[in-house]
Subunit: 510 residues, 2 copies
């Protein structure tokens, strides 16, 4: 219920670096803790929530230490570039062979304009560009429902909404809604439907230019050839294409969406720079957290050796499924609460192509193809338009579908993904392929989840030991927000945790 | 009928220049005339059609001379930057005071991914970025229809489509469509409507998250506050908000749309560079065209002096309304055909602001606000996100509405536009204003039209003397295409003209 299909970066490209150099952040932080304090805080986890915690506390004068198990910060905010390596928990090893400038955002890949993530981009001077979350010319292909070829999104939409408008206009005109609507209402409704559905004589939907063209309108002599094969209402209903149309109206997915220029990891890189490299310890796996009357002791291992870190407070911003495996003296309520988050699977494969044939041949610049094949979705890149190469997201798989792909070797994943894409896009999906890289978060070291499902809201009583401090330990993460799986949730949760911590510290001093 | 509300560039910004330097065009032209020829061609008009004509003919070995009345090429493709000046035909003088890096595209401002304009950007190495042609968080404000405050596009859409879905689902469920649809059809339709309209129990539309939030969902304790005040079906129908929803489904306007990085005039600048400055004569107003048995003589004035240019062929790529005023010996059919294009008015005002309050305060990044006020539309800039300043398009007026604004002084235009915007956006629409610049194409020297309306298709018999050569004179322009008012139409028409000319030259040589 609290899992969304939503949002899940390493060295910058030349373009991104140029963008960041010329970019000047226009103002200081929107979020500022009032009054300064000098307590020591240990932050468990160097993902977005952990970095944001250390960043905000640092602005207020706290001395933070971020303890991160992996050799890099960012958590699920991961951008894969050429040379990056990954060995997953099933033992599959990969090294990315993407050409310079090519990348895939393996975790979160988009931000809505209202999200806190945008504010952090502004504050940190990370330039943003539009993420093309929908494209009228991307395809829909529901093979299991009898479609024998893909349909453009715009064609499917024109037909579905055309027939829906026709049916309602006719019902209204025939008096079927006379009880529900006044004559004025009916007149306005029918006028709307005629325009919205592109209806003709007698409220009939008979296709039209919104369906798209096989030959585009041009000069005199070339009026254009609209797509033929207008389906009947019954036929278009049976394809199931309509199920994809509400996506663009969702409050977290509606256009325009955005992405940092050069890769999503520009955000954790900027946060880590602001926090300071000397405040971040990577390669340190937390094994124990001990809450005491006057502080917190955190034990971690690095390179096989055990280290102990003492601080005044702790903010635990690790994945709940991994935090559950850390020894602690926080009590059974914390244990039970951490058990209420179930790790969810998702996986993505980046298919690098030697040409951008989807732009030149299919006239698709960005956007998402929807399908009932096991690849689920195919994403066209929202950057590098007209460039020489590009990385398609060949699948965005979820749940058991993701795990089935995860069990395959990287080569098998690629082969299976390409076999699916071939049926939609034709031969170049295979012949132009240059390299691939796949990431499955349930099988990813020190993550083991793409995000977490929860049967209750974050404000449910069972989660109170996490949404409020337990002893001197605070918790933060997207999983403790109403926007789990989104960086917005991680930022919001971090702000809540540091606000509470800071209020306590200031109150204690008085 | 053939006029659309569609598309209507001077020195590059530092950003654009950086973008162009780092950009490498990936391939040669899609369009290539086969075989080379060395005829002399005079091209009348240095707009997009004229420049494309000279560019393509130049690739095939022709020696072209472009004769342009103004001191710059590009025609209606005009990007206004600080320091640019304009004196319109009513005597209104303006000098743009936009800050460095700020600009407005006064003419065409967007391109669909399928348009030839995109191919020329690729071929010429002009980098493109997304033009945000719609935004779920932009406003709709139909004051004359009783709205007392603006409504977010997403809220209006959720309500209209919610009630439409409810009405049709209930009608279907109650048996009113049993004659039209099978039981399977009805089941699928109702399933679609429940999702598409976000319907609840008993197919009732009761609002929901798609309407948007006054407080965004955040951490635990902050589930978000959805917009209240759910209107009834009757109330939302009465606002007329639904009339704007089909725009995003139009084949020439559906997202994603694009724009060149740094200003639309990157296209004519790149074309002019490719043609060669020595082939372009600016400040030359054509006064006479004489078609002869062995060539064409063109007479023009420059700085009060008359010049004569002889060539083998002529391609007339001037606006038809101005071409109609040039003396020629092409006959009455040409005269009559040129008379069949009626100049249409459109005007835009760029409002430069000292802050991007629409992003920070309204969370609107790009996109169009629709209104029934006399400003018609307000466009949020699709570039410079998070920057220190930005230029809003304060009106995009059409027809008599545009002429009414044109008659005002530039200061009065600004005042009137700001008064309208204030009612939608509040005080910052006035207090943050830094400067403005307005362009009205019907009153623009050597254009005198935003585009042209025509009662017949370009393939109508009366236009044949223009869509086919008359003597040694060919014609080109968006007005001779099925995509008038779009650069795509100008490119398509130029390709048609040069293909016909080249075939004739090659045939003549044999």
């Amino acid at each position: 219920m609290f899992a969304t299909m939503g949002a899940l970066g390493l060295a910058p490209t030349a373009e991104a670096a140029a963008g960041e150099r010329r970019y000047r952040a226009p103002r200081a932080g929107d979020f500022t803790l009032t009054g300064t304090a000098a307590a020591e805080v240990v932050v468990l986890g160097g993902g977005v929530a952990g970095l944001a915690t250390a960043y905000e506390l640092g602005k207020a004068g706290y001395r933070c230490t971020v303890v991160e198990a992996r050799d890099r910060t960012g958590g699920r905010n991961l951008t894969i570039r050429g040379g990056d390596t990954l060995t997953d928990l099933l033992g599959h090893r990969q090294t990315a062979r993407f050409a310079p400038g090519q990348y895939m955002n393996a975790g979160p890949a988009r931000m809505a304009q209202w999200m806190l993530t945008m504010d952090y981009c502004r504050e940190l001077g990370v330039p943003v560009e539009v993420f093309t979350n929908m494209n009228a010319d991307a395809y829909i292909y529901n093979e299991s429902e009898g479609m024998d070829r893909p349909m453009r999104y715009r064609t499917a939409k024109a037909d579905m909404l055309g027939y829906v408008s026709e049916l309602l206009a006719k019902a209204t005109d025939s008096g079927a809604l006379d009880q529900e609507l006044t004559a004025d209402d009916r007149g306005r409704l029918v006028e709307f439907l005629a325009d919205y559905g592109a209806l003709g004589e007698g409220f009939a939907y008979t296709g039209g230019s919104r369906r798209g063209f096989s030959v585009y309108p041009g000069a005199a002599g070339t009026p254009g050839v609209p797509y033929g094969d207008l389906p009947t209402a019954s036929q278009i209903f049976a394809t199931g294409v309509g199920r994809y149309f509400s996506f663009e109206s969702e409050f977290d997915q509606a256009m325009p969406m955005f992405q940092p220029v050069g890769g999503m990891d520009a955000i954790p890189r900027a946060l880590a720079r602001a926090v300071g490299g000397d405040r971040i310890r990577t390669g340190c796996a937390v094994t124990e957290v001990t809450d005491k009357a006057d502080g917190v002791t955190v034990t971690y291992t690095r390179g096989g050796r055990t280290h102990v870190l003492d601080a005044d407070y702790c903010v635990a911003a690790m994945p709940p499924n991994l935090l559950a495996g850390v020894r602690h003296n926080l009590g059974s309520a914390v244990r039970s609460a951490l058990g209420g988050f179930n790790p969810f699977s998702a996986g993505k494969i980046g298919l690098e192509y030697a040409s951008r044939w989807w732009e030149s041949d299919h006239r698709i610049y960005g956007g998402i193809t929807e399908t009932d094949l096991d690849v689920n979705q195919i994403w066209h890149p929202s950057h590098g338009y007209h460039g020489e190469r590009g990385v398609l997201m060949g699948y965005y798989t979820l749940d058991t579908g993701a795990d089935a792909y995860a069990e395959l070797s990287p080569v098998e994943r690629e082969q299976r993904a390409v076999a699916a894409g071939l049926r939609i896009y034709g031969d170049k999906y295979r012949t132009e392929l240059a390299s691939s890289f796949s990431v499955h978060w349930r099988q990813f070291p020190y993550q083991e989840a793409a995000w977490h499902t929860s049967l209750e809201s974050p404000d449910a009583a069972r989660y109170k030991p996490l949404t409020e401090p337990t002893g001197r330990v605070y918790f933060a993460g997207d999983w403790l927000s109403y926007m789990d799986a989104w960086q917005h949730g991680a930022f919001a949760s971090a702000r809540k945790a540091v606000t509470a911590l800071h209020q306590r510290v200031l109150a204690t001093r008085r």
